[in-house]
């Protein structure tokens, strides 16, 4: 019955979110306590699932090759713990941010349900189960994008849905195919034996490639990247934080599951698919970082940056070697934290000053020094200033790229550095202009720090980020456990 923990971690937030539509709270604070309590329960169950040993269980057999299965292994522990952590931080933040927003009940209901769906993806034991939760996540998260109900939000939301469904449809081809030939496609570290032995590799290669493109949509990989930069900035900041921090990572997670736990690395390594996917990820890295540099809208800039940073991770996954994979997983954790911090502090800037463009934010560091400090920590981490985390993950990624061999490897290594350069180009001006606007801007600097709940949650995330990045021992040990089973 150990699987009950994992199941509960999925069901509690979904049920809690659904109940929120029925329950009527007299005071906002009661609702807030309810939301936090639900997530704390979810976190407790996630923790319990993480502490228990590995589980693989079939819950329900719908048809042959169509089973509802759960699996708890190191990879799902890693992603589920990260998700629930970010969700808790963002939730505490959102109480301050959403205080005066409309339709809060709807927001929190779907916010919780999304959390449940994400847990479901992490604990899914086969492709079909993962697909169910994957779609559930899309459906549960679109009201978050829609929240403002402005025409722009409608447009972004429509785009989000179209892309997500297109991506899921592409993935679905592969899901059916692989479920069919392996009778259920239950995740197995190192790849499913029946798929490895399957004769018709030519079709399989094409289908695998299309499938990765489909999952790549959630991760913002080129060519299905355009929704991300519309949807993430349009959502309210707490939602942007989880969209960029966690939901994009679910795309990565699905790709890792498909590549390492279904088809196996031997099938992909050295093939045209690997080269093509590396190029696509490389192009996304470039697109994201260059366009972030050319965008003035702060949240949109951060969204572009997500495109490039998540593609770092994908690059690490597609390189299929230990160093790169280590870098990728490290970057998953670092990026989840730093992008959350960035979106949350961007939200705080907007919340207090109602300015949305970087060019208007000169001197913001004088008004909100603490929030800006947190932003700075995250930004330096993203640029890769040692000893912060981005430096560590980037080191492993570039090493991994070089290990790949050939000219592509040097190109990719150079690309990662170029992208870091651009990230310095789009992040440092925010900080520099924020702290040092020059004497021309010497207006009255009133203290505009956001409310305590926002400040504390951003601060917690930033502190956590600096601790795990300066002393990543525990994290790397955890990741080493995952890697040992895969290579």
């Amino acid at each position: 019955m150990r699987y009950m923990f994992a199941l509960a971690a999925v069901i509690v937030p979904i049920a809690g979110g659904a109940l929120l539509g029925v329950l009527k709270f007299k005071k906002q604070i009661h609702r807030n306590i309810y939301v936090v309590a639900t997530l704390v329960f979810c976190a407790a169950f996630t923790g319990a699932a993480a502490l228990s040993s590995d589980i693989s269980v079939n819950l329900l057999k719908v048809a042959r090759g169509f089973e509802f299965a759960f699996k708890v292994d190191d990879l799902s522990r890693f992603f589920s713990l990260l998700a629930v952590l970010i969700w808790l931080i963002v939730t505490v933040y959102s109480f301050g941010y959403m205080e005066n927003e409309h339709a809060q009940e709807r927001f929190y209901a779907f916010f919780l349900m999304t959390a449940g769906a994400v847990q479901g993806i992490c604990y899914a034991g086969n492709l079909i189960t993962m697909y169910v939760f994957y779609e559930a996540m899309t459906l549960a998260s679109f009201p978050l994008v829609l929240h403002e109900q402005s025409p722009a939000a409608f447009a972004a939301c429509k785009k989000y849905l179209i892309y997500s469904f297109a991506g899921a449809a592409l993935a679905l081809i592969g899901i059916f195919y692989f479920s069919f030939i392996s009778e259920g496609a239950a995740f197995t570290a190192g790849g499913i034996a029946r798929i490895a032995q399957y004769a018709d590799k030519k079709y399989m290669a094409g289908i695998y490639f299309i499938m990765i493109l489909g999952f790549g949509c959630k991760a913002g990989m080129f060519p299905l990247n355009a929704w991300l930069t519309s949807a993430h900035p349009t959502a309210p900041s707490p939602a942007s934080a989880v969209l960029s921090g966690i939901i994009t990572k679910m795309g990565v997670f699905a790709i890792i599951r498909t590549t390492f736990y279904v088809v196996g690395t031997e099938f992909v390594a050295g093939s045209w698919m690997q080269t093509a996917l590396l190029m696509l990820a490389g192009v996304s890295v470039l697109i994201g970082s260059v366009l972030a540099y050319r965008t003035d809208h702060l949240k949109k800039r951060l969204a572009y940056s997500t495109v490039s940073q998540v593609s770092y991770i994908l690059l690490g996954v597609f390189l299929l070697n230990e160093n790169a994979f280590k870098g990728a997983l490290l970057h998953v954790a670092f990026h989840a934290l730093m992008k959350s911090v960035m979106f949350l502090s961007a939200g705080a800037f907007i919340f207090k000053t109602h300015k949305i463009h970087v060019s208007e934010m000169k001197g913001i560091g004088k008004m909100m020094p603490k929030t800006m400090l947190f932003f700075t920590v995250a930004a330096l981490c993203m640029i890769g200033v040692p000893p912060l985390g981005g430096f560590i993950s980037k080191t492993y990624l570039v090493m991994g790229a070089f290990n790949f061999g050939g000219y592509l490897s040097y190109t990719l290594g150079g690309l990662l550095i170029l992208s870091a350069l651009f990230s310095a180009g789009y992040l440092l001006p925010i900080i520099v202009g924020g702290y040092f606007p020059g004497h021309d801007y010497e207006t009255v600097y009133i203290n505009k720090e956001p409310p305590a709940s926002m400040r504390i949650s951003i601060g917690t995330a930033a502190a956590l980020l600096s601790i795990i990045s300066v002393l990543p021992g525990a994290l790397t040990a955890f990741i080493a456990d995952i890697i040992i089973k895969l290579f």
């Binding site: 722009a152 972004a156 355009a226 290594g413 520099v432 020059g438």
Partner: protein, 647 residues
């Protein structure tokens, strides 16, 4: 344990200072001095490891751990770094008595100290890089300190250059690690020696060279230096010029003495950069009219001398003792000279609130002590016999002469002759620009409006005077006891530079050495009269004679060339490409929707406009609709086609 404290203790001190600063400004200033003094004591306690290296490791930090070691050349610079910071902190007590934001300044000052110590103590290149970057970023706050428009501008240039060079350096280190499988500094030579793919090795070293040489102010990456060093407050400029530049040389020495030890090609490349740098820096110094800017440009020029010394170490192979002695001593001298001169500039600035030569002209006429200290440092910089600068320059000169003698049959012989001429000529320029400063500040009469203010006898304040006296005294001692002090110190650095002890050292007072100095001196005086007095002054002879800037407005390499190229041209070029790709999905989606008859939906079609704005369905709607996307797409297609056809 002691070794681990070197980088960590100042960081802890920085936090303490931040807390102390909330209570009392005086307590804070003395806390800073105390932290620096303790740091110096810590270094001195390691004196036993001067010749036998000691290593330590801080595991787990940034996953790779920090590997530290001490001894030889490293030890010299650990002493000089902590000493420099102590002097700067002492000087700062009086200099900063009316400044704002000192909590921030002192916090980052101490952080920079820890990081600089870390660079010099680092045992592997990843550790070097970690500390190097921390140093670069914390020094930004020192430069931007007064938050004036010019300072912010200069600091931003510094930051941009630091980030770019830092990342390129990092790429070089990655490549090196990929090639050799180690970045442990003392095992690099063994690994590189047996490595077959020399191309990759040169690529890695080239990238690392870019990173380190930028910090060292090498031409043409020097552009940040004449802006950033003068913008910082005087004690910080002293540290930037005197010590932080040397972290770049630490890296250059690792490349030249470990990875590419005795590599002739590398030596020739370095020599080109060295000569170009010394010449460019000296000219820039001569043409400038701002005291701190002249000193900063002089730092560039002196960097060129040091780079030349390193080049000679590569070229001379196993006979490179003279070059190794000269490089080490010139680095030490330059550190002391610039500590002294920048702090003196600060002392002048506190009284006059100006740094332009025309403003501060005649300030030092009746200030004997200021003049003596300044003269000691200036003479040493010029390399006049009897000073320590003379010793190091003679050694460098002798190493070029030696190279000429060794390569009599080499087809590069002409190049080494050129090197010698450039070396002498730059020596002359050095004398000319220092004469310019000295005569302007200490000999010429002040402008009428300042005459009264400057006429007052006002001695330097005690702590500041003490801070500038220490390096001056050291310079004198080094100059008077070349065999007992200079050579002993240089000898201890040889282990790091992998040079043999010199079989014979030149007699510093021999005819040939003195002759070289005299030629340079004569050249300098002539250059001074021809260039400065004739060409760079207006209204000569009259009461309001003044110096003019020799560099035209458009001569700013950074503003006119690097900045537009790096910030606009390259990104725009890439952005066109990326924008097309970014819209690709949208275009496909739009086409698909057209096929399904969704064309009426204007909202979707304008969705790519800036989010948060109302969708515009009117005059500008065209710009961000499907038609513009199609247009971009066709342009991209056109580009691709033309690429395929023509290339």
């Amino acid at each position: 344990m002691l070794l681990i404290l070197l980088p960590l203790f100042p960081a802890a001190g920085a936090v303490t200072v931040l807390i102390a600063g909330r209570k009392n400004a005086k307590v804070r200033a003395y806390t800073v001095v105390a932290v620096c003094a303790i740091e110096l004591v810590l270094v001195l306690m390691l004196a036993g490891h001067f010749s036998e290296p000691l290593t330590a490791r801080i595991g787990g930090v940034a996953d790779f751990g920090l590997n530290l070691t001490v001894g030889s050349f490293r030890y010299i610079y650990l002493v000089l770094t902590s000493l420099g910071w102590l002097l700067a902190a002492l000087f700062g007590i009086e200099y900063f008595s009316h400044h704002h934001n000192l909590n921030r300044y002192y916090f980052f000052l101490l952080l920079t100290l820890g990081a600089t110590m870390g660079v010099f103590a680092s045992a592997d290149l990843i550790t070097t890089f970690i500390f190097f970057e921390i140093m670069s970023f914390s020094a930004y706050v020192l430069i931007v300190h007064d938050e004036k428009r010019e300072s912010i501008e200069a600091a931003n240039v510094y930051l941009g250059v630091s980030v770019i060079s830092g990342l390129i350096l990092l790429l070089g280190i990655y490549l090196l690690y990929h090639a050799l499988g180690t970045v442990q500094i003392d095992s690099l030579y063994a690994a590189a020696n047996g490595y077959a793919n020399k191309k990759l090795l040169y690529a890695a070293c080239g990238l690392m060279f870019f990173g380190f040489a930028t910090k060292a102010g090498t031409f043409p990456m020097h552009v940040w230096l004449p802006k950033a060093h003068p913008a910082a407050p005087a004690p910080a400029s002293a540290l930037l010029s005197g010590i932080m530049i040397k972290t770049g040389f630490f890296g250059l020495l690792v490349i030249a003495c470990e990875i590419l030890r005795h590599d002739v090609l590398w030596g020739n490349i370095l020599l080109v950069f060295g000569l170009a740098t010394m010449l460019a820096g000296a000219f820039l110094a001569l043409l400038s009219v701002d005291l701190k800017r002249i000193l900063a440009c002089s730092s560039i020029s002196q960097s060129g001398f040091i780079t030349t010394g390193i080049a000679m170490q590569c070229l001379l192979g196993t006979h490179n003792a003279l070059a190794a002695y000269g490089t080490t001593l010139h680095m030490i001298n330059h550190t002391l000279i610039k500590l002294c001169l920048f702090m003196l500039a600060g002392a002048i600035y506190t009284e006059t609130h100006a740094l332009g030569l025309n403003k501060i002209k005649g300030f030092g006429r009746n200030k004997t002590y200021l003049m003596i200290v300044f003269a000691v440092a200036a003479l040493s910089l010029m390399g006049i016999a009897g000073t320590s600068g003379y010793i190091s320059k003679t050694l460098l000169h002798e190493s070029i002469v030696e190279q000429i003698a060794y390569s009599a049959a080499d087809k590069m012989l002409w190049f080494y002759h050129v090197a010698e001429y450039v070396f002498m000529f730059t020596g002359g320029l050095t004398i000319a620009y220092m004469l310019k400063v000295f005569i302007a500040v200490f000999v010429e009469k002040p402008a009428a409006e300042n005459a009264e203010a400057y006429g007052k006898k006002k001695p330097m304040r005690p702590l500041s005077a003490a801070a500038v006296t220490v390096p001056a005294l050291m310079l004198i001692a080094f100059g008077f006891f070349p065999h007992k002090l200079c050579e002993k110190i240089a000898e201890s650095a040889l282990a790091f530079l992998h040079a043999h002890a010199a079989a014979h050292l030149p007699h510093y007072l021999s005819y040939t050495c003195i002759q070289g100095m005299l030629i340079t001196l004569a050249l300098g005086v002539i250059l001074y009269f021809v260039l400065v007095r004739l060409l760079l002054m207006r209204k000569k002879g009259s009461a309001n004679a003044h110096y003019v800037r020799g560099i035209p407005e458009w001569g700013d390499l950074e503003r006119e060339f690097y900045r537009p190229v790096v910030l606009n041209v390259i990104p725009s070029f890439l952005a066109v490409f990326c924008r097309v790709l970014d819209r690709l999905g949208d275009m496909a989606a739009a086409l698909a929707m057209m096929a399904y008859g969704f064309i009426k939906d204007e909202v979707y079609l304008t969705a790519s406009k800036r989010e948060g704005d109302e969708p515009v369905v009117g005059e500008n709607a065209v710009l961000d609709t499907i038609s513009s996307s199609l247009l971009l797409f066709s342009l991209g297609l056109l580009a691709v086609l033309s690429y395929i056809i023509f290339i």
